[in-house]
């Protein structure tokens, strides 16, 4: 490689990357106000941010995943805890965390500062950040709702399982036979629709499995079985 090529790599590489970065920075600024709902960024929210920085909160907690990793992430604290629990933690951390093996320092915040921080966290909880953090993801909440609906439809599914004597082969809790897969395990990998479909002709999806077909069940009945089984799974919704 000649020195000239080397210089080209330096100036070319730097230039291309810098140009891309600056262009995207300009565009990002155009989009920030929508993504962060800047119209709701009131003076009180800004005061909350100042109070938050005054107490160096971010050197234990993370926000949007940044900061220290010693205490929970606060991006969705408002959605997760709600207003009163946040107030309680800010007012009397020594009481709120009396049983915790990790303590939060007492901040001696004024009533006003607490209000400001609460409104700051409320504003922050609505930032559109590609659904991070996963443990507080919206998709996860929605899956929980689906699970609840599936559980509400529990009785019809249970009735069908009773009627068709599934437990002659399958295990459920302490009941049932040992010939086939435990019902609680099925939904670790399968969803309700898959199970409903499977029931029409098990041999087709799992040749040699030895399970009889249930073509006489209606689509709604088969689906209720699927939902019942999904509701049984301890890991459902992950």
């Amino acid at each position: 490689m000649s020195e000239k090529t080397a210089k080209w790599i330096f100036w070319g590489g730097t230039g291309v990357s810098l140009l891309l970065f600056l262009v995207l920075t300009v565009d990002t600024h155009r989009q920030f106000s929508t993504l962060t709902h800047a119209d709701k960024l009131s003076a009180q929210v800004v005061a909350g941010k100042r109070a938050f920085e005054n107490r160096n909160c971010n050197d234990c907690h993370t926000i949007l995943g940044f900061g220290a990793y010693f205490a929970p992430d606060l991006t969705r604290a408002y959605t997760r805890l709600g207003e009163m629990p946040i107030r309680r933690r800010l007012e009397k951390p020594e009481v709120a965390f009396v049983d915790s093996f990790r303590k939060m320092p007492h901040q001696s915040l004024s009533e006003q500062e607490i209000n400001d921080i609460v409104s700051y966290l409320a504003w922050m909880s609505n930032i559109e950040n590609n659904d991070w953090p996963p443990q507080h993801s919206e998709k996860r909440w929605k899956r929980s709702t689906e699970r609840m609906l599936a559980a509400a439809a529990l009785s019809p599914g249970a009735a069908v399982i009773e009627q068709e004597q599934c437990l002659a082969c399958h295990n459920l809790g302490k009941n049932g036979g040992n010939q086939a897969i435990r019902l609680e395990w099925i939904a670790k990998r399968r969803d309700a629709m898959w199970i409903a479909d499977f029931l029409t002709d098990p041999e087709q999806k799992a040749p040699g499995c030895g399970m009889p077909a249930y073509p006489h069940l209606s689509a709604a009945q088969r689906e209720s079985v699927g939902q019942f089984i999904v509701a049984l799974s301890s890991g459902a919704g992950r």
């Binding site: 234990c60 010693f70 992950r238």
Partner: protein, 459 residues
Amino acid sequence: MLFKTQRIAYPYFVLALLLFSLQVVVGLWLAINYFATVPQSVVDVFPFSTARAIHTNLLVLWLLLGFMGATFYLIPEETGRELEWPKLAIAQLVLLAGTGVAAVIGFLFGWTQGRPLLEIPRPLDLLVVVGALMFLANVGVTILKARQWTVTQGSLLGGLTFLALLYLIGIPFYNNIAVDWYYWWWVIHLWVEGAWELIAAALTAFLLIKMTGVERSVVEKWLYVELGLFLFTGIAGTGHHYYWLGAPQYWIWVGGIFSALEPFPILLMVVDTYRHAREGSHSFRPRLLWVYLIGGVILHFMGAGLFGFAHTLPQINYYTHGSQVTVSHGHLAFFGAYVLLNLTFFYFAMPRLKGFPGAAFDERLGHWGFWSTSLGVLGMSLSFAVAGVLQAYLERVQGQDYMISQEPIRFWMFMAFLHGLVVVAGVVMIVWHLLTLKPTTGESQPITRPEEKIAVQAV
């Protein structure tokens, strides 16, 4: 040492080493906070946040003082000219050290800007800026007057200027937290993966030229390529911090692709160092210097390249972002890339500053120090990595409560603490060794040094 003003490096190195020792001791206290229960009465007076601010700011301060000292050592030799204002360089050290001490005492009393890693209060930021201007003026004028332009000087001066400019972006208060983090990363990321890499590459090139006797044009040609790749991947690679802060979705692509390429320039640096070491003359001693230099580039690649790549892709980062996985990467990367480079430079310069260039000295304690700190930090990073994976799985994948995820990692934080003890022991050995370095008595004939040939050519 060929120029009188190179001596200014000495007090910089001494202060850097003392701050380094303090930094690692505070690190032990942080680890204790993770596995033990610190009672409320202590937490109220000296919270984790204060100790963490001290730990990180001391790191930045001592590394920068080390870089500055190294620059003062390097510039006269590279330009063939005494430093322009030696007294200004001393004033600068007093100013920056004073600012650092004031900041640390301020943290203890809750005086802080409150933004992680940039906790130094805004009034003190102004003093830092004054110090940076003194430094840049001193170095810049010396380089300009000498007119002995080299790529090494260019890279060094470019990196230092870039560093100072980026610091300014970290000073204002931003109303919007997303905008705040966006520019926070201009300081943090573009420092360590931009400006500091320029400085580190320049210092490495200088050391390689001196240590191997490989022709300057060859070393500097590859320096161009390395820097080009560092900046190409590093600048747009800032996007890997923009996945989850409320920035547009295209950052997931830009950040993912560019940062996936980030290990390559580091790999090239490893290969180049190895090649120059092989091609060059092997007469350069002490062997200790090679241990630090080669150890540094390898751990740089592991910590920044491999540990960084392990969680930079958005599909993985969604689960590991802001967990102990980040801590693991941060410790090994900083140690490999910047701590060991600083120590290499100290070991290169100290015998010369103390007036026995090239003479043999008792290397044993330095070797012990290297292996204790390196294996200690490696073990610590692996402990953090296990803790991080556990945390990511329990909290992020399973959706368990944060504190539930912290319970099982206590053991691994204790392991990190034990490794921390080894690191502290190693640091004490290195600091003691460097500060008391003496030539072995009765064996003072100088060893043939390639640097002398070059120095003659330069004059």
